[in-house]
């Protein structure tokens, strides 16, 4: 009896995929958050002063994506109205139960606090100079304090520094636990590896840094302002280093699997070469990793013109973002395409209009940009050139 989409034998309940495109989206989004925050911390904690023009941008990017992060999960749940249970009776043996607390911690104590401390002077100033509804919003954002004296600002700076320092391991936790959710499933040999949280983390940093650099270049172009080349060159350097580590880790996983060739290997190998040919070999490895790495590497070895560098960086970042998405796809979807009997494969039937379908996913990916535009309207990431 032939089941459409199934080759070989699958346990009867395995034919239908459980974790859909939305579960691919979730680690992608939290990865962008973690990566953008790490870029922000480069300036704040590690004093890489060259990337300062992107500091506020990175914070707002992280915030915009973080606000959207729970949505794919809510849409996926069979009973989203019961999601409060994770706060009421979290099961301490479940990595997933950590989500609610880590998310809230990161949103409030790290990101919102840091954004507030950074933008406070502007918020107070704007609460005095604007009118009507805008003024009310700014007054609410001041949380009632109008104190922006130099001494207070120094204290803000010190506290902001401390928050960023705490924020780095918090960002690692926010995204690392997702890697652990997959890496700790002994039933699934595609997922089960201690490397998983580390691979997720480094690919998150790569995607976040690439996203902020791309946003910066695009935003400057849209606002018709000059791009600070020293800034983007420095970001490209850190992107390159992070990418090299990420690529090394992924290759280590691949080589280790191929060498050990345990009971799952032949089945997984076949799956990669057939069902994951486009998403893994072409999109993730070649276009998403090797091409961007080459573009970044040549810029470390030779000096090109500013225009050429901008073009290469833009291409590299765009390809990187596609490649890291493909990586999440290959982990989540790939892990469900093969049978745990190692005797068969199924297919992912992606819906279009259901709550877990393609349209929902596209909407969720566009939403952070909408939020971002709203955020930069109220919290200016760049000093205004014109006087108001």
């Amino acid at each position: 009896m032939m089941i459409p989409g199934v080759d070989g034998f699958m346990y009867p309940n395995e034919v239908e995929l459980q974790w859909s495109l939305l579960i691919v989206l979730y680690p992608y989004i939290t990865g962008l958050v973690a990566g953008a925050f790490i870029l922000a911390s480069l300036e704040r904690v590690f004093k890489v002063e060259a990337v300062k023009p992107t500091y506020r941008l990175a914070l707002l990017t992280a915030l915009a994506f973080l606000l959207v992060a729970p949505l794919p999960l809510q849409l996926h749940l069979g009973h989203p109205e019961r999601s409060m249970e994770m706060y009421l009776t979290p099961h301490s043996s479940s990595a997933m139960a950590m989500f609610g607390f880590v998310y809230l911690w990161y949103l409030t104590v790290v990101l919102l606090l840091e954004v507030w401390l950074e933008f406070r002077a502007d918020i107070v100033r704007l609460s005095r100079t604007t009118k009507g509804l805008t003024r009310m919003i700014y007054r609410a954002l001041t949380l009632g304090s109008q104190n922006i004296s130099p001494a207070a600002r120094i204290i803000d700076d010190k506290v902001g520094y401390a928050v960023t320092v705490i924020g780095i391991p918090s960002a690692f936790l926010l995204h690392g636990y997702v890697g652990f959710i997959f890496g700790s499933i002994k039933a699934n040999p595609w997922w089960s590896t201690p490397l998983m949280p580390i691979v997720f983390l480094f690919s998150a940093m790569v995607s976040g840094i690439a996203a902020v650099m791309l946003l910066y270049i695009v935003a400057m172009k849209l606002k018709k302002r000059p791009i600070d080349m020293r800034c983007v060159d420095t970001i490209a350097k850190y992107l390159f280093y992070t990418f090299v580590i990420d690529f090394t880790l992924e290759m280590l996983d691949l080589i280790h699997r191929t060498y050990e060739a345990d009971e799952s290997f032949r089945s997984l190998d076949f799956m990669v070469h057939t069902r994951l040919m486009v998403s893994q070999i072409i999109l993730q490895i070649f276009l998403g990793t090797l091409v961007p790495l080459t573009l970044l590497a040549v810029n470390q070895l030779w000096r090109f013109s500013a225009a050429a560098r901008r073009a290469m960086y833009t291409t590299a970042c765009s390809l990187t973002l596609v490649g890291i998405f493909a990586m999440r796809w290959n982990v989540v979807i790939g892990g469900q395409l093969f049978s745990k009997s190692f005797l068969g494969y199924t297919s992912y039937k992606m819906d279009l209009v259901t709550r877990e379908g393609l349209l929902a996913a596209i909407g969720l990916m566009l939403l952070p940009f909408v939020i971002f535009v709203v955020l930069i309207k109220f919290l200016p990431p760049w000093p205004e050139r014109e006087t108001t």
């Binding site: 409060m84 706060y87 009421l88 009776t89 099961h91 409030t108 104590v109 919102l112 606090l113 507030w116 406070r120 949380l143 009632g144 304090s145 104190n147 004296s149 001494a151 207070a152 204290i155 506290v159």
Partner: protein
């Protein structure tokens, strides 16, 4: 000293918002957590009762023989003695509760017999099995075999 404190005071505000939110959460939590959650383990004990409350579908042979004494005697000496009545007649707990109201339909004989007795290499060698196409050439199984005591 007073001036220094002034410069820190604005930090109290986000802290206050956070603490107030945590307070609300703790109160709501105390009210909403299911009663005696955790009594046997990390779950609601009421879940056990929920699963147990499912109505029974298959009554079991012991219930059938309470009324159908004659069939019981016929079967007890035959090869189908250990085959449950409901394996062929379907779930009949409802019938046992109210025999008049729920009269079961007799099963389709041919498919029923074939499912177990059609010859197949994967079945254990000692198990009675025939190639029905050669065995009965279209004649119904129960023309020769009495299902309750089938051995001829």
């Amino acid at each position: 000293m007073r001036r220094l404190l002034n410069e820190w005071v604005h930090l109290v505000r986000p802290a206050a918002v956070l603490i107030a939110a945590m307070g609300v959460f703790l109160i709501v939590r105390a009210a909403v957590i299911p009663k005696d959650f955790g009594k046997y383990g990390h779950y609601r004990p009421a879940a056990l009762d929920l699963v147990r409350s499912r109505p029974i579908g298959y009554a079991g042979q012991d219930t059938c023989v309470m009324c159908h004494d004659d069939q019981a005697k016929l079967r007890a000496s035959g090869k189908h003695a250990h085959v449950a009545c409901e394996a062929c007649h379907g779930p009949l707990a409802k019938h046992a509760d109210d025999p008049g109201a729920n009269i079961p339909k007799l099963p389709e004989v041919a498919d029923l017999c074939r499912r177990c007795h059609e010859k197949d290499a994967a079945k254990p060698k000692g198990f009675p099995q025939v190639v029905t196409a050669e065995h009965n050439s279209g004649v119904a199984c129960d023309s020769c075999h009495q299902p309750h005591n089938p051995h001829l």
